[in-house]
């Protein structure tokens, strides 16, 4: 089982509840298909560096999970089918990335309170 990290960008047009519902929809999709969710992080409404689909803000959500490799293509297919998702990015984590994320979660980097507070 490889560990992955996926970032999804939701349209800012959604209400708070719908955004949450979308996120839980995908986390249940993951757990139902044999993935183990390790960490979730929601950055909430953020400003984009450039407009995507003519929108300048986004809901930014990060999920870290362990999954068998063939699940990724299924997950990305689900992302493509959902029109509430503007962009997504899934990457496989190597051992250095794992160590880094572990450290970040334990709060070793106090320089970045932005992401730390969003996790709480």
């Amino acid at each position: 089982m490889q560990q992955y990290e996926t970032v999804i960008i939701l349209t800012p047009l959604l209400s708070e509840e719908v955004a949450k519902e979308t996120i839980t929809k995908f986390s249940t999709f993951l757990t139902e298909n044999g993935a183990e969710i390790i960490h979730e992080d929601n950055w909430g409404l953020r400003k984009l560096a450039y407009p995507i689909e003519k929108k300048s803000t986004e809901f930014f959500h990060l999920t870290e999970f362990k999954a068998p490799g063939d699940l990724i293509s299924k997950l990305e297919l689900q992302y493509k089918r959902d029109e509430r998702i503007m962009r997504f990015l899934t990457i496989a984590l190597d051992k250095h990335a794992l160590a880094y994320n572990e450290k970040k979660r334990s709060g070793a980097f106090n320089k970045k309170p932005k992401t730390e507070e969003a996790a709480k």
Binding site: A49, Y50, Y100, K112
Partner: protein
């Protein structure tokens, strides 16, 4: 009357900068570059949002590749711009 002479150089004089460039990742033992940390990645792009070359930042080849990868990921998820006018 002695006129004050202005020194003129044919070619621009070399300003000796003795500080040797070093790879900040090797020196500080950073092994993973987080694409979500846009403020950190700003150090490796110019004010147009382009990647800075290794000869300016001193990054080693191994980590320059990782920086490039991280910047490209950050651009994709909208943390950094693909094109900008005055980033800094």
């Amino acid at each position: 009357m002695a006129k004050e002479q202005k020194i003129q150089y044919v070619t621009a004089p070399k300003v000796d900068d003795n500080r040797k460039k070093y790879c900040r990742f090797k020196k500080n033992g950073i092994k993973y570059i987080d694409y979500k940390d846009a403020n950190f990645l700003l150090k490796f792009i110019n004010d147009q949002g382009k990647l800075l070359p290794r000869r300016l930042t001193g990054t080693s080849l191994k980590f320059q590749r990782k920086v490039a990868q991280a910047v490209k990921r950050a651009r994709h998820i909208g943390l950094l711009p693909y094109v900008a006018d005055s980033l800094k």
